[in-house]
Protein backbone atom coordinates (compact mmCIF):
# COMPACT_ATOMS: atom_id res chain seq x y z
CA UNK A 1 0.00 0.00 0.00
CA UNK A 2 1.40 3.42 -0.89
CA UNK A 3 3.00 5.44 1.90
CA UNK A 4 1.18 3.49 4.57
CA UNK A 5 3.17 3.32 7.74
CA UNK A 6 2.78 1.28 10.87
CA UNK A 7 2.04 3.68 13.69
CA UNK A 8 4.29 4.42 16.60
CA UNK A 9 3.11 2.64 19.73
CA UNK A 10 3.42 3.98 23.27
CA UNK A 11 3.29 1.40 26.03
CA UNK A 12 1.79 2.89 29.17
CA UNK A 13 4.16 2.59 32.10
CA UNK A 14 1.36 2.40 34.68
CA UNK A 15 -1.98 0.64 34.75
CA UNK A 16 -4.76 2.82 33.45
CA UNK A 17 -7.52 3.40 36.02
CA UNK A 18 -10.99 3.37 34.49
CA UNK A 19 -14.26 5.12 35.39
CA UNK A 20 -15.88 1.71 35.92
CA UNK A 21 -13.51 1.08 38.82
CA UNK A 22 -11.60 -1.51 36.83
CA UNK A 23 -8.17 -0.92 35.43
CA UNK A 24 -6.30 -1.76 32.27
CA UNK A 25 -2.74 -3.01 32.62
CA UNK A 26 -0.20 -3.19 29.85
CA UNK A 27 -2.22 -0.80 27.67
CA UNK A 28 -0.72 0.49 24.46
CA UNK A 29 -1.60 3.60 22.47
CA UNK A 30 -0.89 3.72 18.74
CA UNK A 31 -0.37 7.23 17.39
CA UNK A 32 0.79 9.27 14.45
CA UNK A 33 2.60 12.60 14.52
CA UNK A 34 3.12 15.26 11.88
CA UNK A 35 5.53 18.18 11.91
CA UNK A 36 8.28 18.93 14.41
CA UNK A 37 7.90 19.44 18.14
CA UNK A 38 9.43 22.80 19.12
CA UNK A 39 12.31 22.78 21.62
CA UNK A 40 10.04 24.27 24.29
CA UNK A 41 7.27 21.81 23.34
CA UNK A 42 4.78 24.65 22.98
CA UNK A 43 3.45 23.86 19.50
CA UNK A 44 1.66 20.54 20.03
CA UNK A 45 -1.85 20.16 18.64
CA UNK A 46 -3.79 17.07 19.66
CA UNK A 47 -6.46 15.86 17.25
CA UNK A 48 -9.03 13.46 18.67
CA UNK A 49 -10.75 11.11 16.25
CA UNK A 50 -14.41 10.16 15.91
CA UNK A 51 -16.15 6.82 16.56
CA UNK A 52 -14.82 4.95 13.57
CA UNK A 53 -11.82 7.20 12.97
CA UNK A 54 -8.21 6.42 13.74
CA UNK A 55 -4.78 7.97 14.11
CA UNK A 56 -4.28 8.27 10.35
CA UNK A 57 -5.56 11.85 10.28
CA UNK A 58 -3.27 12.96 7.47
CA UNK A 59 -1.51 9.83 6.28
CA UNK A 60 -2.55 6.91 4.14
CA UNK A 61 -4.74 4.36 5.88
CA UNK A 62 -2.84 1.05 6.03
CA UNK A 63 -5.92 -1.08 5.34
CA UNK A 64 -7.93 0.95 2.84
CA UNK A 65 -5.03 2.76 1.18
CA UNK A 66 -7.14 5.92 1.27
CA UNK A 67 -5.81 9.36 2.28
CA UNK A 68 -6.06 10.38 5.94
CA UNK A 69 -9.57 11.19 7.18
CA UNK A 70 -8.79 14.90 7.67
CA UNK A 71 -6.10 15.20 5.03
CA UNK A 72 -7.72 18.35 3.71
CA UNK A 73 -7.44 20.04 7.13
CA UNK A 74 -4.05 18.87 8.40
CA UNK A 75 -0.74 19.32 6.59
CA UNK A 76 1.85 21.89 5.59
CA UNK A 77 0.12 25.17 4.78
CA UNK A 78 -3.31 23.73 5.64
CA UNK A 79 -5.63 25.18 8.33
CA UNK A 80 -3.93 23.01 10.96
CA UNK A 81 -0.47 23.75 9.67
CA UNK A 82 2.08 21.00 10.30
CA UNK A 83 4.91 23.29 9.19
CA UNK A 84 4.22 25.27 12.39
CA UNK A 85 2.53 22.80 14.69
CA UNK A 86 3.39 19.34 15.93
CA UNK A 87 0.20 17.37 15.38
CA UNK A 88 -0.54 14.25 17.39
CA UNK A 89 -3.41 11.88 16.70
CA UNK A 90 -3.80 8.75 18.81
CA UNK A 91 -6.06 5.75 18.33
CA UNK A 92 -8.41 5.65 21.33
CA UNK A 93 -8.32 2.71 23.71
CA UNK A 94 -11.13 0.33 22.86
CA UNK A 95 -10.50 0.82 19.15
CA UNK A 96 -8.80 -1.56 16.78
CA UNK A 97 -6.02 0.26 14.92
CA UNK A 98 -3.15 -0.55 17.26
CA UNK A 99 -4.33 0.74 20.63
CA UNK A 100 -5.47 -1.73 23.24
CA UNK A 101 -9.04 -2.84 22.64
CA UNK A 102 -11.26 -5.91 22.76
CA UNK A 103 -9.29 -7.57 19.96
CA UNK A 104 -6.02 -7.21 21.91
CA UNK A 105 -4.67 -10.02 24.03
CA UNK A 106 -5.25 -9.90 27.75
CA UNK A 107 -3.06 -11.33 30.51
CA UNK A 108 -3.96 -14.89 29.51
CA UNK A 109 -2.74 -14.35 25.96
CA UNK A 110 -6.29 -14.63 24.58
CA UNK A 111 -8.21 -11.75 23.03
CA UNK A 112 -10.17 -9.78 25.61
CA UNK A 113 -13.35 -9.93 23.49
CA UNK A 114 -16.25 -9.09 25.84
CA UNK A 115 -13.89 -9.43 28.78
CA UNK A 116 -12.54 -6.02 27.88
CA UNK A 117 -13.65 -3.50 30.51
CA UNK A 118 -16.35 -1.02 29.53
CA UNK A 119 -14.62 2.30 28.94
CA UNK A 120 -15.76 5.94 28.87
CA UNK A 121 -14.78 9.02 26.91
CA UNK A 122 -12.83 10.17 29.98
CA UNK A 123 -10.96 6.84 29.99
CA UNK A 124 -9.98 7.41 26.36
CA UNK A 125 -8.66 10.85 27.29
CA UNK A 126 -6.88 9.42 30.33
CA UNK A 127 -5.02 7.15 27.94
CA UNK A 128 -4.12 10.07 25.69
CA UNK A 129 -2.93 12.11 28.70
CA UNK A 130 -0.60 9.21 29.57
CA UNK A 131 0.74 9.39 26.01
CA UNK A 132 1.28 13.17 26.32
CA UNK A 133 3.11 12.58 29.60
CA UNK A 134 5.25 10.03 27.80
CA UNK A 135 6.03 12.55 25.07
CA UNK A 136 6.84 15.18 27.71
CA UNK A 137 4.11 17.53 26.51
CA UNK A 138 2.76 19.44 29.50
CA UNK A 139 0.50 21.88 27.74
CA UNK A 140 -1.07 21.58 24.30
CA UNK A 141 -1.28 24.57 22.01
CA UNK A 142 -4.70 23.18 21.11
CA UNK A 143 -6.90 20.14 21.33
CA UNK A 144 -9.20 19.63 18.37
CA UNK A 145 -11.98 17.16 17.72
CA UNK A 146 -15.12 16.59 15.69
CA UNK A 147 -18.04 14.42 16.82
CA UNK A 148 -16.70 11.92 19.39
CA UNK A 149 -13.37 13.74 19.05
CA UNK A 150 -15.15 16.86 20.30
CA UNK A 151 -16.38 14.93 23.34
CA UNK A 152 -12.77 14.00 24.11
CA UNK A 153 -11.65 17.62 23.68
CA UNK A 154 -14.37 18.75 26.11
CA UNK A 155 -13.50 15.98 28.56
CA UNK A 156 -9.83 16.94 28.42
CA UNK A 157 -10.68 20.60 29.01
CA UNK A 158 -12.95 19.78 31.93
CA UNK A 159 -10.84 17.14 33.66
CA UNK A 160 -7.31 18.27 32.82
CA UNK A 161 -7.87 22.05 32.58
CA UNK A 162 -4.18 22.95 32.54
CA UNK A 163 -3.30 20.71 29.61
CA UNK A 164 -4.71 22.74 26.69
CA UNK A 165 -4.63 26.44 25.78
CA UNK A 166 -7.24 26.15 23.04
CA UNK A 167 -10.16 23.76 22.74
CA UNK A 168 -11.86 23.37 19.36
CA UNK A 169 -15.05 21.31 19.33
CA UNK A 170 -16.78 20.65 16.01
CA UNK A 171 -20.21 19.07 15.47
CA UNK A 172 -20.29 17.59 18.93
CA UNK A 173 -22.22 17.46 22.18
CA UNK A 174 -21.73 17.43 25.96
CA UNK A 175 -24.09 14.47 26.39
CA UNK A 176 -25.68 11.74 24.36
CA UNK A 177 -29.40 12.25 23.89
CA UNK A 178 -32.02 9.50 24.04
CA UNK A 179 -32.10 9.57 20.23
CA UNK A 180 -28.30 9.23 20.03
CA UNK A 181 -28.40 6.27 22.41
CA UNK A 182 -31.30 4.72 20.48
CA UNK A 183 -29.40 4.73 17.18
CA UNK A 184 -26.35 3.23 18.86
CA UNK A 185 -28.43 0.53 20.50
CA UNK A 186 -29.84 -0.35 17.09
CA UNK A 187 -26.29 -0.82 15.82
CA UNK A 188 -25.23 -2.89 18.78
CA UNK A 189 -28.28 -5.13 18.51
CA UNK A 190 -27.56 -5.66 14.81
CA UNK A 191 -24.06 -6.88 15.69
CA UNK A 192 -25.23 -9.07 18.55
CA UNK A 193 -28.02 -10.57 16.42
CA UNK A 194 -25.44 -11.82 13.92
CA UNK A 195 -24.80 -15.53 14.76
CA UNK A 196 -21.17 -15.02 13.82
CA UNK A 197 -20.79 -12.57 16.72
CA UNK A 198 -20.84 -15.63 19.03
CA UNK A 199 -20.96 -13.65 22.24
CA UNK A 200 -17.95 -11.66 21.04
CA UNK A 201 -15.69 -14.74 20.76
CA UNK A 202 -15.15 -14.71 17.02
CA UNK A 203 -11.42 -13.93 16.93
CA UNK A 204 -9.46 -16.70 15.32
CA UNK A 205 -12.63 -18.30 13.95
CA UNK A 206 -13.70 -18.57 10.33
CA UNK A 207 -16.48 -16.01 10.46
CA UNK A 208 -16.74 -12.48 11.82
CA UNK A 209 -20.06 -10.69 12.46
CA UNK A 210 -19.63 -8.69 9.26
CA UNK A 211 -23.32 -8.72 8.42
CA UNK A 212 -24.28 -7.27 11.78
CA UNK A 213 -21.49 -4.72 11.72
CA UNK A 214 -22.45 -3.65 8.20
CA UNK A 215 -26.05 -3.07 9.26
CA UNK A 216 -24.84 -1.07 12.28
CA UNK A 217 -22.72 1.06 9.97
CA UNK A 218 -25.57 1.57 7.51
CA UNK A 219 -27.90 2.79 10.24
CA UNK A 220 -25.25 5.07 11.71
CA UNK A 221 -24.30 6.39 8.29
CA UNK A 222 -27.83 7.66 7.75
CA UNK A 223 -27.48 9.74 10.91
CA UNK A 224 -24.30 11.31 9.53
CA UNK A 225 -26.08 12.64 6.45
CA UNK A 226 -28.95 15.06 5.96
CA UNK A 227 -32.18 14.44 4.12
CA UNK A 228 -31.22 17.31 1.84
CA UNK A 229 -27.83 15.75 1.16
CA UNK A 230 -29.28 12.31 0.46
CA UNK A 231 -31.91 13.76 -1.86
CA UNK A 232 -29.33 15.76 -3.74
CA UNK A 233 -26.90 12.85 -4.02
CA UNK A 234 -29.32 10.01 -4.80
CA UNK A 235 -32.91 11.17 -5.03
CA UNK A 236 -35.02 8.22 -6.13
CA UNK A 237 -32.56 7.27 -8.86
CA UNK A 238 -32.20 3.58 -9.66
CA UNK A 239 -28.89 1.72 -9.53
CA UNK A 240 -27.62 0.09 -12.76
CA UNK A 241 -31.15 -0.56 -14.04
CA UNK A 242 -33.96 1.18 -15.86
CA UNK A 243 -36.88 -0.44 -14.06
CA UNK A 244 -37.64 -1.46 -10.51
CA UNK A 245 -36.88 -5.18 -10.05
CA UNK A 246 -39.98 -6.01 -8.01
CA UNK A 247 -37.58 -7.77 -5.70
CA UNK A 248 -35.16 -6.93 -2.95
CA UNK A 249 -32.00 -6.17 -4.85
CA UNK A 250 -30.46 -2.75 -4.28
CA UNK A 251 -32.81 -1.08 -6.78
CA UNK A 252 -32.13 2.41 -5.54
CA UNK A 253 -28.78 4.16 -5.62
CA UNK A 254 -29.11 5.02 -1.96
CA UNK A 255 -29.46 1.34 -1.09
CA UNK A 256 -26.42 0.43 -3.11
CA UNK A 257 -24.47 3.23 -1.47
CA UNK A 258 -25.37 2.11 2.04
CA UNK A 259 -24.53 -1.51 1.29
CA UNK A 260 -21.16 -0.39 -0.05
CA UNK A 261 -20.55 1.74 3.06
CA UNK A 262 -21.52 -1.15 5.31
CA UNK A 263 -19.39 -3.82 3.67
CA UNK A 264 -16.40 -1.50 3.23
CA UNK A 265 -16.51 -0.69 6.92
CA UNK A 266 -16.22 -4.35 7.96
CA UNK A 267 -12.85 -4.52 6.19
CA UNK A 268 -11.32 -2.03 8.56
CA UNK A 269 -13.24 -2.18 11.83
CA UNK A 270 -13.75 -4.67 14.64
CA UNK A 271 -17.34 -5.33 15.69
CA UNK A 272 -16.51 -5.56 19.39
CA UNK A 273 -14.69 -2.21 19.21
CA UNK A 274 -17.87 -0.79 17.73
CA UNK A 275 -19.82 -2.06 20.75
CA UNK A 276 -17.37 -0.63 23.27
CA UNK A 277 -16.90 2.77 21.67
CA UNK A 278 -20.62 3.37 21.08
CA UNK A 279 -21.17 2.45 24.75
CA UNK A 280 -18.56 5.00 25.81
CA UNK A 281 -20.34 7.67 23.78
CA UNK A 282 -23.72 6.76 25.25
CA UNK A 283 -22.32 7.03 28.77
CA UNK A 284 -20.96 10.50 28.00
CA UNK A 285 -22.63 13.26 30.01
CA UNK A 286 -20.12 15.90 31.01
CA UNK A 287 -22.55 17.66 33.36
CA UNK A 288 -23.28 14.45 35.24
CA UNK A 289 -19.56 14.05 35.92
CA UNK A 290 -19.58 17.53 37.48
CA UNK A 291 -22.50 17.48 39.83
CA UNK A 292 -25.20 17.93 37.20
CA UNK A 293 -24.30 21.47 36.16
CA UNK A 294 -22.33 21.74 32.92
CA UNK A 295 -20.91 25.17 33.77
CA UNK A 296 -19.21 23.63 36.81
CA UNK A 297 -17.17 21.43 34.44
CA UNK A 298 -15.40 24.58 33.22
CA UNK A 299 -15.14 26.78 36.34
CA UNK A 300 -11.76 28.48 36.50
CA UNK A 301 -10.61 27.34 33.07
CA UNK A 302 -8.08 29.58 31.36
CA UNK A 303 -8.46 27.88 27.97
CA UNK A 304 -10.04 29.54 24.97
CA UNK A 305 -12.90 27.58 23.43
CA UNK A 306 -14.34 27.52 19.95
CA UNK A 307 -17.45 25.56 19.01
CA UNK A 308 -18.70 24.96 15.50
CA UNK A 309 -21.97 23.35 14.47
CA UNK A 310 -23.64 22.71 11.11
CA UNK A 311 -27.21 23.70 10.36
CA UNK A 312 -28.14 20.33 8.78
CA UNK A 313 -26.53 18.18 11.51
CA UNK A 314 -29.40 16.39 13.23
CA UNK A 315 -27.15 13.95 15.10
CA UNK A 316 -25.56 16.66 17.23
CA UNK A 317 -27.67 19.68 16.30
CA UNK A 318 -26.71 23.31 16.89
CA UNK A 319 -28.75 23.38 20.11
CA UNK A 320 -26.22 20.98 21.67
CA UNK A 321 -23.33 23.30 20.84
CA UNK A 322 -25.28 26.28 22.16
CA UNK A 323 -25.88 24.40 25.37
CA UNK A 324 -22.10 24.08 25.80
CA UNK A 325 -21.57 27.73 24.85
CA UNK A 326 -24.07 28.86 27.48
CA UNK A 327 -22.30 26.78 30.12
CA UNK A 328 -18.94 28.25 29.10
CA UNK A 329 -20.42 31.77 29.28
CA UNK A 330 -21.79 31.03 32.71
CA UNK A 331 -18.33 29.82 33.75
CA UNK A 332 -16.77 33.01 32.37
CA UNK A 333 -14.68 31.14 29.82
CA UNK A 334 -13.48 32.70 26.60
CA UNK A 335 -15.64 31.14 23.94
CA UNK A 336 -16.42 31.56 20.26
CA UNK A 337 -19.25 29.82 18.49
CA UNK A 338 -20.51 29.74 14.95
CA UNK A 339 -23.15 27.68 13.18
CA UNK A 340 -22.05 27.05 9.62
CA UNK A 341 -24.32 26.31 6.72
CA UNK A 342 -23.66 23.06 4.87
CA UNK A 343 -25.97 20.50 3.32
CA UNK A 344 -24.10 17.32 4.24
CA UNK A 345 -25.36 16.99 7.82
CA UNK A 346 -23.07 15.74 10.58
CA UNK A 347 -20.40 14.64 8.09
CA UNK A 348 -19.95 18.26 6.97
CA UNK A 349 -17.00 18.65 9.32
CA UNK A 350 -15.01 16.20 7.20
CA UNK A 351 -15.83 17.80 3.86
CA UNK A 352 -14.75 20.85 1.85
CA UNK A 353 -15.91 23.97 3.63
CA UNK A 354 -14.04 27.26 3.19
CA UNK A 355 -15.65 28.93 6.20
CA UNK A 356 -14.77 25.96 8.41
CA UNK A 357 -11.17 26.20 7.23
CA UNK A 358 -10.98 29.91 8.02
CA UNK A 359 -12.47 29.52 11.50
CA UNK A 360 -10.18 26.58 12.33
CA UNK A 361 -7.12 28.38 11.01
CA UNK A 362 -8.00 31.62 12.80
CA UNK A 363 -8.66 29.89 16.08
CA UNK A 364 -5.61 27.61 16.05
CA UNK A 365 -3.31 30.43 14.81
Amino acid sequence: MPNATASKVYALTDTLPLDSGQELSGAEIAYETYGELAADKSNAVLICHALTGDQYVASTHPVTGKPGWWDRMVGPGKPIDTSRHFVICANVIGSCMGSTGPASSGADGQPYAMGFPVITIRDMVRGIIALLDGLGIERLHAVVGGSMGGMQALSLAANWPDRAERVLVIASTARHSAQNIAFHELGRQAIMADPAWAGGDYYGGDAKPDNGLAVARMAAHITYLSEEGLTEKFGRRLQDRDEKSFGFEADFQVESYLRYQGSGFTQRFDANSYLYITRAMDYFDLAEEHGGRLADAFIGTSARFCLISFDTDWLYPTAESRHIVHALNAAGAKVSFVELSANAGHDSFLLEHDQLDRVVQGFIE
Binding site: H326, S336, V338, V359, E365
Partner: protein, 202 residues
Protein backbone atom coordinates in the same frame (compact mmCIF):
# COMPACT_ATOMS: atom_id res chain seq x y z
CA UNK B 1 -5.31 59.37 24.51
CA UNK B 2 -7.74 58.84 21.67
CA UNK B 3 -8.83 55.48 20.30
CA UNK B 4 -7.88 54.46 16.80
CA UNK B 5 -8.91 56.93 14.13
CA UNK B 6 -10.13 54.03 12.05
CA UNK B 7 -13.06 53.28 14.35
CA UNK B 8 -16.53 54.57 13.56
CA UNK B 9 -17.15 57.79 15.58
CA UNK B 10 -19.59 56.19 18.04
CA UNK B 11 -17.20 53.26 18.62
CA UNK B 12 -14.23 55.61 19.01
CA UNK B 13 -15.97 57.58 21.76
CA UNK B 14 -16.94 54.34 23.54
CA UNK B 15 -13.39 52.96 23.19
CA UNK B 16 -12.03 56.10 24.86
CA UNK B 17 -14.14 55.49 27.97
CA UNK B 18 -13.13 51.86 28.56
CA UNK B 19 -10.63 51.22 31.34
CA UNK B 20 -7.56 49.04 30.75
CA UNK B 21 -7.71 45.36 31.73
CA UNK B 22 -11.49 45.35 32.14
CA UNK B 23 -14.10 42.85 30.94
CA UNK B 24 -16.38 43.89 28.11
CA UNK B 25 -19.25 42.35 26.17
CA UNK B 26 -19.94 43.80 22.71
CA UNK B 27 -23.48 42.92 21.66
CA UNK B 28 -23.88 43.02 17.90
CA UNK B 29 -20.10 43.26 17.54
CA UNK B 30 -20.10 43.06 13.73
CA UNK B 31 -16.61 42.39 12.42
CA UNK B 32 -15.12 42.96 15.89
CA UNK B 33 -13.46 46.34 15.24
CA UNK B 34 -14.08 47.68 18.76
CA UNK B 35 -13.06 44.42 20.44
CA UNK B 36 -9.84 44.13 18.44
CA UNK B 37 -8.92 47.74 19.21
CA UNK B 38 -9.55 47.35 22.93
CA UNK B 39 -7.78 43.99 23.26
CA UNK B 40 -4.76 45.40 21.51
CA UNK B 41 -4.61 48.89 23.02
CA UNK B 42 -5.96 48.29 26.53
CA UNK B 43 -5.63 44.53 27.16
CA UNK B 44 -9.39 44.38 27.62
CA UNK B 45 -10.94 40.91 28.01
CA UNK B 46 -13.49 41.41 25.24
CA UNK B 47 -16.28 39.04 24.29
CA UNK B 48 -18.72 39.50 21.44
CA UNK B 49 -22.14 38.40 20.32
CA UNK B 50 -23.20 38.64 16.69
CA UNK B 51 -26.15 37.33 14.72
CA UNK B 52 -24.54 37.13 11.26
CA UNK B 53 -22.44 33.93 10.89
CA UNK B 54 -20.23 35.48 8.21
CA UNK B 55 -19.24 38.26 10.63
CA UNK B 56 -18.70 35.76 13.46
CA UNK B 57 -16.39 33.80 11.18
CA UNK B 58 -14.33 36.93 10.47
CA UNK B 59 -14.10 37.68 14.21
CA UNK B 60 -12.97 34.16 15.11
CA UNK B 61 -10.49 34.18 12.24
CA UNK B 62 -8.90 37.31 13.78
CA UNK B 63 -8.65 35.61 17.16
CA UNK B 64 -11.62 37.25 18.92
CA UNK B 65 -14.00 35.42 21.26
CA UNK B 66 -17.34 35.88 19.56
CA UNK B 67 -20.48 33.82 19.91
CA UNK B 68 -23.08 33.59 17.20
CA UNK B 69 -26.28 34.44 18.97
CA UNK B 70 -29.40 36.51 19.20
CA UNK B 71 -29.14 39.22 21.83
CA UNK B 72 -32.90 39.08 22.38
CA UNK B 73 -32.56 35.50 23.59
CA UNK B 74 -28.98 34.61 24.49
CA UNK B 75 -28.01 37.31 27.01
CA UNK B 76 -30.05 35.38 29.56
CA UNK B 77 -27.20 32.89 29.91
CA UNK B 78 -24.69 35.38 31.28
CA UNK B 79 -24.44 35.80 35.05
CA UNK B 80 -25.29 39.11 36.73
CA UNK B 81 -22.56 41.75 36.42
CA UNK B 82 -20.40 39.34 34.42
CA UNK B 83 -18.84 42.32 32.64
CA UNK B 84 -17.53 45.75 33.58
CA UNK B 85 -19.04 47.03 30.35
CA UNK B 86 -21.86 45.93 28.08
CA UNK B 87 -21.72 47.72 24.74
CA UNK B 88 -24.32 47.82 21.99
CA UNK B 89 -23.64 50.00 18.99
CA UNK B 90 -26.33 50.65 16.38
CA UNK B 91 -28.13 47.44 17.35
CA UNK B 92 -30.85 48.47 19.83
CA UNK B 93 -33.23 49.56 17.08
CA UNK B 94 -32.92 46.12 15.39
CA UNK B 95 -34.01 44.22 18.49
CA UNK B 96 -37.39 42.51 18.90
CA UNK B 97 -37.78 44.04 22.35
CA UNK B 98 -35.34 46.90 22.97
CA UNK B 99 -36.76 47.45 26.44
CA UNK B 100 -36.02 43.89 27.58
CA UNK B 101 -32.65 43.97 25.87
CA UNK B 102 -31.66 47.15 27.73
CA UNK B 103 -32.74 45.53 30.97
CA UNK B 104 -30.56 42.50 30.25
CA UNK B 105 -27.58 44.72 29.40
CA UNK B 106 -28.00 46.58 32.69
CA UNK B 107 -28.04 43.19 34.41
CA UNK B 108 -24.90 41.68 32.85
CA UNK B 109 -22.83 44.89 32.67
CA UNK B 110 -21.91 47.31 35.44
CA UNK B 111 -21.72 50.15 32.91
CA UNK B 112 -23.66 50.13 29.66
CA UNK B 113 -22.91 51.98 26.41
CA UNK B 114 -25.64 52.21 23.78
CA UNK B 115 -25.47 54.00 20.44
CA UNK B 116 -28.33 54.35 17.95
CA UNK B 117 -29.51 56.45 15.02
CA UNK B 118 -31.81 59.23 16.21
CA UNK B 119 -35.15 59.02 14.38
CA UNK B 120 -36.01 62.58 15.49
CA UNK B 121 -33.14 64.14 13.52
CA UNK B 122 -34.48 67.11 11.53
CA UNK B 123 -33.89 65.41 8.17
CA UNK B 124 -36.00 62.44 9.21
CA UNK B 125 -38.70 64.73 10.57
CA UNK B 126 -38.87 66.86 7.45
CA UNK B 127 -38.79 63.83 5.13
CA UNK B 128 -41.80 62.40 6.93
CA UNK B 129 -43.60 65.70 7.35
CA UNK B 130 -43.25 66.97 3.79
CA UNK B 131 -42.65 63.77 1.86
CA UNK B 132 -45.25 61.81 3.78
CA UNK B 133 -43.12 58.69 3.40
CA UNK B 134 -40.80 56.74 5.67
CA UNK B 135 -37.48 58.57 5.55
CA UNK B 136 -34.47 57.20 3.73
CA UNK B 137 -31.49 59.21 4.91
CA UNK B 138 -27.76 58.75 5.26
CA UNK B 139 -28.23 57.59 8.84
CA UNK B 140 -31.16 55.35 7.88
CA UNK B 141 -30.34 54.34 4.32
CA UNK B 142 -32.68 51.37 3.76
CA UNK B 143 -36.37 51.37 2.76
CA UNK B 144 -38.99 50.64 5.40
CA UNK B 145 -39.71 47.17 4.07
CA UNK B 146 -36.11 45.95 4.02
CA UNK B 147 -34.54 47.72 6.98
CA UNK B 148 -33.30 45.81 10.02
CA UNK B 149 -34.30 48.82 12.09
CA UNK B 150 -37.66 47.58 13.26
CA UNK B 151 -37.90 49.74 16.38
CA UNK B 152 -37.02 53.31 15.51
CA UNK B 153 -36.06 55.34 18.53
CA UNK B 154 -35.37 58.98 19.32
CA UNK B 155 -33.06 60.52 21.89
CA UNK B 156 -36.08 61.56 23.97
CA UNK B 157 -37.53 58.04 23.74
CA UNK B 158 -34.29 56.49 24.92
CA UNK B 159 -34.01 58.83 27.89
CA UNK B 160 -37.57 57.90 28.85
CA UNK B 161 -36.83 54.16 28.50
CA UNK B 162 -33.70 54.46 30.65
CA UNK B 163 -35.77 56.20 33.33
CA UNK B 164 -38.41 53.48 33.23
CA UNK B 165 -35.74 50.82 33.64
CA UNK B 166 -34.29 52.54 36.70
CA UNK B 167 -31.08 53.42 34.89
CA UNK B 168 -29.04 56.56 35.38
CA UNK B 169 -27.55 58.22 32.31
CA UNK B 170 -24.13 59.45 33.33
CA UNK B 171 -22.89 60.81 29.99
CA UNK B 172 -24.04 61.27 26.42
CA UNK B 173 -22.40 62.12 23.10
CA UNK B 174 -24.07 63.30 19.92
CA UNK B 175 -22.97 63.17 16.30
CA UNK B 176 -23.94 64.76 13.00
CA UNK B 177 -21.95 64.46 9.77
CA UNK B 178 -19.65 62.05 11.63
CA UNK B 179 -18.56 64.83 13.97
CA UNK B 180 -19.33 65.40 17.65
CA UNK B 181 -21.87 68.15 18.26
CA UNK B 182 -23.04 69.94 21.40
CA UNK B 183 -25.97 68.48 23.35
CA UNK B 184 -27.99 71.64 22.66
CA UNK B 185 -31.16 70.59 20.79
CA UNK B 186 -29.66 67.16 20.24
CA UNK B 187 -33.00 65.51 19.55
CA UNK B 188 -33.29 67.77 16.46
CA UNK B 189 -29.65 68.02 15.48
CA UNK B 190 -28.03 64.64 16.17
CA UNK B 191 -27.97 61.82 13.60
CA UNK B 192 -26.49 59.45 16.17
CA UNK B 193 -26.31 59.34 19.95
CA UNK B 194 -24.15 57.43 22.44
CA UNK B 195 -25.29 57.01 26.03
CA UNK B 196 -23.41 55.77 29.07
CA UNK B 197 -25.75 54.46 31.74
CA UNK B 198 -25.93 52.12 34.69
CA UNK B 199 -28.53 50.67 36.99
CA UNK B 200 -29.41 53.14 39.72
CA UNK B 201 -28.27 51.87 43.13
CA UNK B 202 -31.34 51.82 45.34
Amino acid sequence: MSASQTLRPDLAVIADQIGAGTRLLDIGCGDGALMAELEQAKQVDARGMELDPAKVERCVARGLSVVQGDADRDLANYPNKAFDYAVMSLTLQTSQRPDMLLEEMLRVGTTVFVSFPNFAHWKTRTALMFGGRMPVTRALPISWYATENIHHVTIADFKQLAKEKGAEISRAWFFANERAISPLGANWRAEFAVFELSKRQD
